[in-house]
């Protein structure tokens, strides 16, 4: 049997290309042991690396600072559009040539625009690593934006927008966000509108790449069959031609000022789709970790959460009910959702409110907290079982500015949460009286309040 590498429990810091310091840190006993190297390329690009030579491939994820919320309002949708255009031809290769080459190299490349960052995901087989990296470099530095693929991708997005306009969950989410972030870019539709997309030109997308793709604020995580030396060269090949700084419009803080409301969007469907929530906590808030634990007990995934127990298990009202914290760089939400047949919408809404109320008033029980801790600490290792997932985790830790020790510290932070913390926090965070709800369907037993949608 081929022997696979198991990493020693350590976080290693590498500055330049030599090992500078090794921190020995203890972890909860089942946490995954990984070794993170901080690599700096000869050209000055930094990345976090976990070497794993057991499979001949590498996974890289990276993020530029700035996302769709930073685009000017008149270019709404441009960043999302850009994410779809970067594999449509670059350098010498037109769209078809580029995609054929990608396929021959068996490389995987995708881009995604989120509110505050622009993400890339790249995977390559070791035997094609250099050629694949050259393709990525071209996508970032010499994308073509030829007119024909430009028109094609735009029409696909326009069709998508149209399709989503009949998808009850997307309708609920979009309208709810618009209420929550009224007047702020976070409340805009990330895909834009047919009208605004129609006015965009290839030059607009090219301008956007100049603003977004810069070394400053770039975060990179790499996992797999590559060593620090090889990675240094690859980083220079891909990223060193980018300008030092981009040009990102600063966002103002997004204060949630929405008044309590029930917005009903009438659609002739048998099941009402409900989205609810209110303001949340940002990732850098000192109470974020306790809030994360609190939410897990209230509406975190799977059986055992209060919402699932009360709404699904006891009453059979829904297939899926959940809540989560949704932090942005300049704002934060607490979000939940459920779907139920129209006739039982009123009952479902009532229980959602009751459960938020009960949690706000009483907080969780000691047993709920203890169980949440064992789940959250025990399952952390499950986020590190594929190279793509490890790269995703390491990137998130960088974009959230949590520091390289976070992998080791994270379970200790969870364990440190006390029942008193949660009782205090439950009162501060959960505001059943402030809930804003959007319901798509023909809900019975629910009265629309304040906001009326269409």
């Amino acid at each position: 049997m081929k022997h696979l590498i198991v990493f020693p429990i350590a976080v290693r810091s590498l500055l330049a290309l030599g090992v500078i310091a090794i921190l020995q840190l203890s972890v909860a006993k089942i946490a995954h042991a990984i070794e993170i190297q901080q690599v700096k390329s000869p050209g000055g690009i930094t990345a976090w690396l976990v070497e794993d030579h057991s499979i001949p491939l590498m996974s890289m994820r990276f993020a530029f600072k700035g996302g769709w919320a930073n685009e000017p309002e008149e270019q709404q949708g441009a960043t999302h559009f850009l994410a779809g255009m970067l594999d449509e031809g670059a350098g010498e290769l037109n769209s078809k040539q580029y995609q054929t080459r990608q396929k021959q190299l068996a490389m995987k490349l995708s881009f995604r625009a989120r509110a505050d960052h622009f993400y890339g995901s790249f995977q390559a087989l070791t035997k094609h690593r250099d050629a694949s990296a050259a393709m990525l470099a071209d996508a970032l530095t010499v994308p073509r934006f030829d007119d024909v693929p430009f028109q094609r991708i735009r029409s696909q997005i326009v069709l998508n927008i149209k399709s989503n306009s009949q998808d009850p969950e997307r309708v609920a989410s979009k309208n709810w966000l618009k209420l929550m972030f009224a007047g702020h870019p976070y409340g805009r539709a990330r895909r834009g509108t047919a009208e605004k997309l129609g006015a965009l030109t290839p030059a607009d997308l090219r301008g956007l790449t100049k603003n977004l793709f810069a070394k400053k604020g770039l975060k990179i995580a790499v996992v797999g069959d590559i060593n620090a030396d090889e990675l240094g060269k690859l980083l220079d090949r891909v990223f060193s031609k980018l300008p030092a700084e981009g040009n990102i419009t600063k966002l103002v803080e997004a204060k949630v000022t929405a008044k309590p409301a029930v917005q009903i969007i009438d659609r002739n469907i048998p099941q009402s789709v409900i989205q609810f929530g209110h303001a949340g906590l940002k990732r850098d808030h000192p109470d974020f970790v306790p809030a994360y634990v609190l939410n897990f007990i209230l509406g975190g995934g799977g059986f055992g959460s209060r919402l699932t127990e009360e709404i699904r298990e006891k009453r059979g009202l829904t297939y899926s009910v959940y809540s989560y914290l949704s932090p942005y760089d300049h704002g934060a939400l607490f979000v939940g959702g459920a779907s139920t047949q129209n006739a039982r919408a009123g009952e479902t809404v009532k229980i959602i409110r009751q459960e938020l109320e009960r949690m706000a008033n009483e907080g969780p029980t000691a047993k709920e907290l203890a169980d949440a801790k064992t789940y959250m600490t025990g399952s952390y290792a499950l986020r590190f079982d594929t190279s793509k997932k490890i790269a995703g985790q390491l990137l998130a830790i960088q974009t959230d500015d949590l520091g390289v020790e976070y992998v080791e510290k994270r379970n200790e932070l969870i364990i440190a949460v006390t029942l008193e913390d949660l009782k205090r926090l439950a009162k501060q965070l959960l505001k059943p009286g402030a809930l804003v709800m959007t319901i798509v369907g023909k809900p019975e037993g629910v009265d629309a309040k304040e906001a009326k949608g269409g």
Partner: protein, 469 residues
């Protein structure tokens, strides 16, 4: 295939099928997967992956919606939900809470041919999972209340997946029309009127008949060796008494199809028209040697990705479609299927949909008459074989591939030899399977149309300006 819990966002039926076919047991031959069968007939498969101290523990049953008694559609999936209720020694709901308390993640899923349960968890909790999972193989205890509440949950699941979605409703109709006699035509989740009739008696009979060691497969992937797993497997699963060998899974066969069929769903909630077509074809378990592999390559050339013939012709060259693609789903006990899908560009209607269909027909006709090029075959092979490298990175997906194969009439050896069989496919074989299976009379074409396509201007504002609502 449908799951106990909903994932963050589930794929459209089309997307899901495409995913399954693209990952089709892409498994490298050198992987040291081991298998043995215990005295009570339960098969065990070990897939070592020591990179992280984590395991994926799965039990698969060779039973799915196509094994249901007539009139009880949905019972296989309903039973899957009910397995999360109590047993003689574990209180209702306690199973999931125990998994969660131990840092595990779990789910279950049902298809026409199989039902599977799994947990992903730290390696040192594996034994506890085996204890719990083996317990519910034979000791399930259900109350009438469990039945009633969970039946409501399943009807909500059906509303979410099917009834709330015109596309979901059309898919169901297309499959029902595709199979003239075989139960693959019944939706896995069940027809609403039959779900509502499912009772304790039906569920118990189904459970007793199919949940038995000789009908089950244990798959453990992750930080484990066969030497470590064997005593645990014997301790928890090996002790379950055998109820004798299972009867062969004989389902009603399809007659030779005689006519192409069309199904049209018109609904004001359809935002833009679209088309899908499914042909019945061979499955990996019943195909002539090389046929299923050639179908995988055919589908790759025809409609996988932006370099495929359908995408290049309809979307890139003719600019009449916004998207177009295909899948081949060969992991089935009886029949496989080949599917095609496309949607005209935004703003187009019925006439444009007809043009899209004509172009699809032209692309198919060219392959049947002129075949595919050696370069296309080489590129498809390269893609399919490279996916085996990516697959090694994901223990959960690997475990699933074994489970699907072993519950649909294939063996561990079949999986391991798949790359060499793909290598052996010729352009001529691809043309042959196109000729054999892409016949109109084997197909159902489903059309999804907005109501009153020709009067778009008068459509409700929610349709026309929906994106601005």
């Amino acid at each position: 295939m449908i799951s106990k819990f909903r994932f963050a966002s589930w794929s459209l039926a089309l997307g899901l099928l495409a995913l399954i076919s693209s990952t089709h047991h892409a498994m490298a031959a050198e992987a040291k997967v081991e298998t043995f069968t215990m005295d009570n007939g339960m098969q065990v498969v070990v897939i070592p992956d020591h990179r992280a101290p984590v395991v994926t523990h799965m039990v698969w049953y060779r039973v799915g919606a196509a094994d249901e008694p007539a009139g009880e559609s949905g019972v296989a999936h309903f039973l899957e939900h009910l397995l999360f209720k109590g047993t003689k020694t574990v209180a209702p709901g306690e199973f999931s809470k125990t998994v969660r308390r131990n840092g595990g993640q779990e789910n279950a899923f049902t298809s026409s041919d199989y039902t599977a349960y799994f947990q992903r968890i730290a390696r040192d909790r594996l034994e506890l999972m085996m204890k719990l999972e083996s317990d519910r193989m034979t000791n399930l205890q259900l109350s009438k209340k469990d039945i009633k509440t969970e039946r409501d949950v399943v009807t909500e699941e059906r509303r979410s997946r099917v009834d709330n979605s015109p596309s979901g409703r059309l898919s169901e109709q297309v499959r029902a029309a595709l199979y003239l006699n075989h139960p693959y035509g019944d939706p896995v989740i069940g027809w609403m009127h039959e779900i509502k009739q499912l009772n304790l008696k039906a569920v118990t009979a189904f459970y007793k008949r199919f949940y038995t060691p000789s009908n089950a497969i244990l798959i453990v992937a992750g930080d484990i060796t066969v030497e470590q797993l064997r005593p645990l497997a014997e301790k928890y699963y090996g002790v379950i008494p055998s109820t004798g060998p299972m009867k062969p899974r004989v389902r009603p066969l399809e007659p030779e199809p005689q006519a192409a069929r069309r199904v049209t769903l018109t609904d004001p909630r359809v935002p833009t028209p679209s088309l899908r077509r499914i042909y019945t074809s061979a499955s990996y378990s019943r195909a002539e040697p090389g046929e299923a592999e050639a179908l995988d390559i055919l589908s790759h050339i025809l409609g996988t990705g932006t370099t495929s013939r359908l995408y290049q012709r309809l979307v890139v060259e003719q600019k009449i479609a916004s998207y177009a693609g295909s899948w081949y789903s060969g992991d089935a006990l009886d029949l496989g299927d080949i599917g095609l899908y496309a949607g005209p560009q935004a703003g187009s209607g019925k006439a444009e949909l007809a043009a899209v269909e004509a172009s699809i027909d032209a692309v198919i006709k060219e392959i049947i008459l002129d075949g595919v090029t050696d370069q296309e075959v080489a590129d498809a092979k390269n893609s399919l074989l490279s996916s085996t490298v990516y697959l090694k990175d994901d223990q959960m997906r690997r475990a699933r591939i074994y489970g699907v194969a072993l519950t649909t009439g294939q063996t561990v050896r079949d999986i391991e030899e798949w790359p060499s069989r793909i290598e052996a496919v010729s352009a001529k074989q691809v043309q042959d399977v196109a000729r054999r299976y892409l016949k109109p009379r084997r197909s159902v074409t489903g059309l999804l149309l907005p109501e009153k396509t020709e009067q778009r201007a008068k459509a409700p504002s929610t349709v026309k300006h929906g994106d601005k609502s």
